[in-house]
């Protein structure tokens, strides 16, 4: 595996992290260590600071206090080990470019300044599109893609980054069933390859099925651990407050849960 993993350091370690906008804490005294090779879900209600947690690890948001390390070093030093899938809604999909081109953007970091992507990069990008089942759409203008297809292109772009650890911000938001299945497949393949995935997730029903590690977040870390230990009714209630009307059995690996969300 990569040289970094031999350092025997956790892929992500967050210590005493507080992020505040004005005097409002968005994240409060977060301590988090993620073990390698897991599929990690970050769940919590709206405004719980899920995206902010990812962005503060990636140095996209200023930290009020605390430290973050990626494989034992600062994000800046180990940037090349990280892949990122931002929220789909954060960009203008009418931008004049193709799927293949977007995926190549994942290689820009490794290319560095000025150097342009060439034949080799196109090949890599095409293979990444294949992994998400989008190779037939390589030359398609991105505005002509459905929401789910756009999401898969974003995923392929992160794959092109060829990272050790991937951060994904709500990749399942508003996608079709085919896309959801494709993303889950890619997630499992990545885990097989020993990668770590940290995913902001909003659907409690699929946590047990898709993930093996869960972080319950509501400004503070409520619980963090293997799903069958941390994803308990008690912890979910603590995370979501009174906003959960009914919550059925969440025991063992049985994914038989019906979650009725309140107005959150």
């Amino acid at each position: 595996m990569s040289t970094a993993t031999t350092l025997n350091e956790s892929p992500v370690a967050v210590r005493d992290l507080t992020v505040a906008y004005r005097e409002e804490p968005v994240l409060w005294d977060v301590d988090l260590t993620v073990p390698e090779g897991r599929l990690v879900a970050i769940v919590g209600p709206n405004g719980a600071g899920k995206s902010t947690l990812i962005k503060s690890i990636l140095d996209l948001v200023a930290r009020t206090s605390g430290t973050v390390s990626v494989y034992g070093k600062s994000y800046k030093e180990n940037r090349e080990l990280v892949g990122y899938v931002p929220q789909r809604g954060s960009v203008d999909w009418d931008f004049p470019t193709t799927s293949l081109d977007i995926v190549q953007m994942g290689l820009y970091g490794k290319l560095g300044w000025i150097r342009r992507p060439g034949k080799k990069e196109r090949q890599i990008a095409y293979e990444c599109l294949e992994k998400v089942g989008m190779e037939d759409y390589a030359d398609r203008q991105i505005s002509q893609l459905s929401g789910g297809q756009q999401q898969r292109v974003f995923l392929a772009r992160a794959l092109a980054q060829d990272a050790e650890i991937y951060f994904m911000d709500e990749p399942f938001a508003g996608v079709d069933a085919a896309t959801e299945a494709a993303i889950v497949n890619v997630m499992r393949d990545l885990r097989e390859a020993g990668k770590t995935l940290i995913i902001v997730h909003h659907n409690l029903e699929t946590v047990l099925e898709y993930f093996d590690w869960v972080v319950l977040l509501n400004v503070q870390i409520i619980a963090s651990g293997p799903v069958n230990e941390a994803f308990t009714l008690e912890n979910i209630r603590k995370t979501y407050g009174g906003r959960i009307a009914a919550l059925n059995s969440l025991n063992g690996s049985e994914a038989e849960s019906t979650v009725l969300m309140g107005d959150g």
């Binding site: 009020t64 206090s65 605390g66």
Partner: protein
Amino acid sequence: MTFLTSEQVILLTGIFAASSCALVGSFLVLRRMAMMADAISHAILPGLVFSFVLANGPNLFVGIFGASLAGIATVVAVEALQRTGLLKSDAAIGIVFPAMFAIGTVLVTRYFSDVHLDADAILYGEIAFSPFDLLIIGNTNYGSYPLIVLMLMTVVNLLAILLFYKELKLATFDAGLAAALGFSPALIHYGLMTLVSMTTVGAFSAVGAILVVALMIVPAATAYLLTDRLGLMIALSVIAGAVSAVLGYYGAVAFDVSISGMMVVMLGILFSLAALFSPSQGIVSKVLRRRRQRERFAADLLVMHLHHHRTASESPDHLAAELDWTDAWLDRIIARAQREHHVELRDGRIALTPHGDEAAHSIARSIGVPVD
């Protein structure tokens, strides 16, 4: 109004130009239509040429009619372009208004270069001529033409706002609700755009097309930084406009420069003062408040951190590393927490006092996190 001196005419023209513009300006600022107003002000040029031809010479009412038509045409064209979905809204504005202005300029240069209708005058006007531009009907001299027009426009705008205050307010803050209640937001929108076009025509001969936009937007934006109430905002913007008209006049006389330009500079100064020093919205008070909040928050954070880790004491170096704070910032926050008797120094290490321990509980409550 032939009894006024030239100076009084210029001052009054400036005041009424500012007032008529400021009255509609608040709605433009709140509805985020400042650049649309800018577009309209450029686009009235072909409207004026058109009415010049229609009336066979300069005629106030035909002029207002033609220019309003051009103004509305601009709004319609911009919205039609946006609706195609092929252009972003800023691009639509940026294509329509230069085109209208270019049409106007070409027409003027080609057919009217020898009459008094040139693009320069429309762009920056000359308020100093207003005492000599007289309205004479039959053999009666009614006084300054621009002044009369602007007084008229002030009254028209004031009446429109008084009559339709409720509708305008509702359509500005909640177009959906307005529509649901049966007030057509489209009608209100185009009504407002008509007023803007008419006001622009009324004021451009005095201050020019671009500065008309300044008179509409800048006082309203200034007032917006000072109050949250629409009625007060409109009143304040009229006052800001009138004050800068007076200051601008005397400033221009003192330095022998363009009066209308100086009016706008004064508006700019008033706006800068509000942007910097407004008690609630000003940048200075905001920066100070934010710094206070950041220090307050950091001091609370320090107390919570010490409480959370339950160690008897921590060395400053270790704290700085854990919190990822600079030494200077940490020193400042420690000093603050010491003043509040939340922490104390024990042999060069930082420790929570009993008082600080109590504080941790109340901080946890106020932030809404459980105490561990």
